[in-house]
């Protein structure tokens, strides 16, 4: 997922969760910005808050550490529901555990 596409990713994830599916979300590239703590958008949905709520409802979340660091973020700047992880450990595990892979990116 990337940038504003994160909102769509959360909507699909939550709809799947409500239907009883186990859902993992992984952010890479600009998608890592979705888990930045302290977002305060004025005119559109707060995807950070939505992801935190999704985490409370059992949606697993991780982002690429390299992408996170590349944008100047430090560990601890992520929302509590998200893990700063890696493509090799987290994304590969998510894919191997899943029946479907849905990519939201432009």
């Amino acid at each position: 997922m990337m940038a504003m596409d994160a909102n769509v990713a959360v909507k699909i994830a939550m709809a799947a969760k409500k239907k009883g599916y186990n859902v993992h979300m992984f952010g890479y590239g600009e998608g890592v910005t979705a888990v930045k703590k302290g977002q305060r958008p004025k005119r559109f949905p707060n995807v950070g808050d939505e992801l935190e709520q999704a985490g409370k409802e059992g949606v697993t979340q991780a982002v690429c550490e390299t992408c996170f660091a590349a944008r100047g973020f430090e560990r601890g700047e992520e929302i509590p529901s998200a893990k700063v992880g890696s493509l090799t450990n987290d994304l590969f595990r998510f894919v191997s555990e899943s029946d479907r892979l849905v990519t939201i990116a432009r």
Partner: protein, 99 residues
Amino acid sequence: MKTAFIVLKSPAEQDPTHLIKRFAERTESSVLLVEDGVYQATVAVAADRLSKAAAEVLVSKEDLEARGYAQSDLKIGRTAGYDDIVDCIMERTDRTVTV
């Protein structure tokens, strides 16, 4: 293989049908239009292209209405909630491709 194609871009940005036709037969293709992808169903030329590439077209109701359109404005397909979109991804198709 039954395939769900997620389209995020408007026809001004992209014609998704070239790729759709290369991945799957029309009868095995479902298209999910979200974000600016909903314009693919409101513009006649784009809708006509989609009709030749996919047997099913679902348009995100939320994203369509956010842009001031309704089911009656669609030239192809039907509106769907995200729950229906999930059903298409998980139950009616075998793989998902984002165009």
